[in-house]
């Protein structure tokens, strides 16, 4: 016991001071894209390189929901018309808010739902073809570093105990039924959060005969882009949804 206590002292306090302080992200982190149409020559080499048809030239636009933030477009553009900033705040309330040209950050839930979930939100996570990167960076929110519980958000084991779903992956055909059943098992009112390029748009797996996407009977309240999104991007989205920032 004394060894565990000594270890606890040695490991120190590790929870980030967010949202009181801005988080420190790696300098090479690729966050919100910045487009400078005036620099674009319209050559189309960015669109040619893009693996997910997220970017188009003439007029220059980038769909953050399709983007996997590989940075090939920025690397290939000789004019500097596309760059990636380190801004991690990307989550949006609707699919259109991610397509640009003006990206719009997520808005809070409407008043009645917010009154229900604002102080306590229980989520059931469903991975439906996710590669385990989105899953890992959702899971990490439960560690002492992010300490999701302090915001009143918790992941629960049963959809019956949940207020909503957090979905990752392109929704494989083989998971479609299980996803719908899990959604139906969540008591209403309920919310849905799509995390990662795959869940938002199919990402790299869009157009595969083996993937279906989130079915239309499951309405999505929050879209979190990225491949995978940084944990801060996911947390920022959740807190915006709950009007905590």
């Amino acid at each position: 016991m004394i060894k565990a206590l000594m270890a606890r002292l040695a490991q120190r306090e590790r929870t980030v001071e967010y949202p009181a302080k801005e988080p420190v992200l790696p300098p090479r982190f690729r966050g919100r894209p910045q487009l400078r149409a005036e620099k674009c020559s319209g050559c189309g080499s960015c669109a040619e390189a893009c693996p997910t048809q997220a970017i188009t030239a003439g007029p220059l636009s980038l769909d953050m929901g399709k983007c996997i933030f590989c940075g090939l477009c920025a690397e290939i553009c000789g004019e500097g018309a596309v760059t990636f900033t380190t801004d991690y705040k990307l989550a949006a309330s609707s699919r259109q808010d991610l397509t640009g040209p003006e990206y719009r950050l997520a808005r809070a839930l409407e008043k009645k739902t917010l009154a229900l979930f604002g102080r306590s939100l229980k989520l059931r996570q469903v991975s439906a073809g996710g590669c385990n990167a989105c899953e890992a960076d959702v899971n990490v929110l439960n560690t002492v570093v992010f300490d999701l519980g302090r915001f009143g958000i918790q992941f629960v084991a049963s959809p019956r105990h949940a207020d909503g779903l957090l979905i990752t992956g392109p929704v494989t055909k083989n998971m479609e039924y299980a996803l719908v059943e899990t959604y139906n098992a969540v008591p209403a009112p309920k919310i849905v959060i799509a995390v990662g390029a795959c869940a938002v748009s199919g990402g790299l797996y869009a157009g595969h005969e083996q993937t279906a996407g989130i079915p239309p009977q499951i309405p999505v309240n929050l879209y979190v882009p990225g491949c995978p999104p940084h944990p801060m991007t996911i947390l920022d989205g959740l807190l915006r949804l709950l009007a905590k920032i």
Binding site: A7, Q11, F69, G71, S127, G129, G130, A133, N174, Q210
Partner: protein
């Protein structure tokens, strides 16, 4: 391509090679009705490929004499509708339509709709779990045959994660490297490196020593992040919260070191054929080293608590035991095999990159239980940290511009990398024009899932989370 054997000769050669100690790294069908086996010779540090033509749509199964072929033959039957006659437990692997029309071997069914091994008896009950699990993890279905709390048998049905990546990456060259990065998202470096090796081999590219050192650093950082996370999760599964909490944080610290290199915690965008996509500067190497030294002390502090706590050892020891004989028979890979006393590791047996010029000693434990799988990970963490410290100064290198070398036509390339879960085997083939026309991926999870089922025999059902975590296998890496 090399000589094509008749199926009887092929079968005998594979069975004899495997019973003589060779590793069946892959066994698969090519679209033109040809079987291919990749046999690794760990002593000679080499691999050979054997081919056999299949007459009609069936051939005599290898599995009765060579249990390692079990999953591979089920995959062949599902993908190409070729029946391995006499296979003891033939059923789908991923529950998708076969690659050619008019499936005969398996009727089209939904995922996990298949026979499960059943024990009958008045006091026997069956427990079904999944595909949606209680935690934040990927989907899979588990069927336990139980007598009271005791598990008599576990049958595992996967395929829920099937995205069709293996064939899509051939037909979509623009997405190819990104598919590699997401085959198993927690093994981005491992799989992408295996792919790069094939492209470099087919394209005749030379890699600088500094780029090789940087790649080795990235591969070890990936191992460290996952092993640290697993050690924490193992502690969590038995309710030992200090190590769970500390290692949860440390895992992120290792991921953030990878993010220093390329901006992504999972190593997305770091590698490309020919070298690295992004430079490793002196400043980055220095920063990485100072973070590594800090994390090393914290990891030691967190993990050694496990070995000093009797209640932890009581749960780890003798739980989920696999014998060395069974590990060999099933063809287990990675830390799960090394925990059973097998000194197999691609860094030693099939060296590439920096390992061509240095000796590597795999971490080995003997007892084959959860304790051994945890301890193997801890030894590997220490080895990885020591290795990174040593080679980091030599890893400062510039980026490589994107090269699209002409690939050798009508060639086949095999690469094996030791990812954190074990040997990752990729096979690439080019057509007469030098374009990839076939690609095969064997994630170590494909070899290890039957090991988990075996480890659960005779265990209490409540030991499943602990045993499962001690393997921590990939669902999408298996389902691709």
């Amino acid at each position: 391509m090399k000589d094509i054997l008749d199926i009887v000769a092929f079968r005998n050669r594979v069975i004899n090679a495997v019973s003589g100690g060779k590793a069946l790294l892959a066994l698969f069908a090519l679209p033109e009705h040809v079987l291919c086996a990749v046999l690794g010779d760990r002593e000679k540090r080499s691999a050979e490929t054997l081919f056999a033509a299949v007459e009609g749509d069936e051939y005599p199964s290898l599995t009765p004499q060579c249990p390692q072929a079990h999953m591979f033959e089920r995959e062949i039957a599902e993908q190409y509708d070729i029946a391995p006659l006499g296979h003891p437990w033939l059923k789908p692997v991923r529950f998708h339509r076969p690659y050619r029309a008019g499936a005969k071997v398996f009727a089209e069914t939904g995922p996990a709709v298949c026979d499960f091994f059943r024990v009958e008896g008045a006091e026997i009950h069956e427990v079904a779990v999944g595909p949606v699990h209680a935690g934040i993890i990927e989907p899979g279905h588990f069927r336990f045959q139980c007598y009271g709390e005791n598990v008599l048998h576990l049958d595992i049905a996967l395929g829920f994660q099937h995205r069709g990546a293996e064939r899509a990456l051939v037909s979509n060259p623009k997405r190819r490297i990104f598919y590699m990065e997401t085959l198993a998202g927690d093994t981005t470096i491992g799989h992408t490196l295996a792919y790069c090796r094939n492209i470099e081999s087919l394209g005749g590219m030379q890699i600088s020593e500094s780029a090789e050192a940087a790649r080795a650093v990235a591969l070890e950082l990936e191992r460290l992040a996952n092993h640290a996370g697993d050690l924490g999760a193992l502690a969590g599964d038995i309710g030992y919260l200090p190590t769970m909490s500390f290692c949860g944080r440390l895992r992120g610290d290792f991921l953030n070191m990878t993010a220093l290199l390329c901006g992504s915690r999972f190593g997305r965008g770091l590698l490309r054929g020919g070298g690295l996509r992004r430079p490793v500067t002196k400043e980055i190497a220095d920063e990485l080293l100072s973070r590594l030294i800090a994390a090393e002390a914290d990891l030691k502090n967190a993990v050694e608590l496990l070995w000093n706590t009797p209640s932890v050892l009581a749960r780890f020891e003798n739980t989920g035991v696999i014998s060395a004989e069974n590990a060999v028979a099933l063809g287990l890979a990675g830390p799960c095999a090394r925990a059973c006393g097998l000194g197999i590791d691609a860094r030693k047996d099939f060296p590439s990159g920096i390992y061509l010029k240095r000796e590597f000693e795999p971490a080995v434990c003997a007892t084959g239980d959860v304790y051994a799988r945890a301890m193997t990970r801890w030894i590997e963490c220490r080895d990885s940290i020591a290795l990174i410290k040593e080679i980091l100064p030599a890893a400062v290198c510039g980026p490589e511009p994107e090269a699209k070398p002409a690939l050798a036509p009508d060639s086949l390339s095999v690469s094996v990398e030791e990812g954190w879960r074990g040997e990752i085997c990729h096979i690439a083939r080019t057509d007469a024009r030098g374009q990839l026309d076939f690609y095969k991926v064997v994630d170590p999870s494909f070899r290890n899932w039957p090991g988990l089922a075996l480890a659960m025999r005779g265990q209490q059902i409540s030991d499943f989370p602990l045993c499962n975590k001690s393997f921590n296998l990939s669902y999408c890496g298996h389902d691709l």
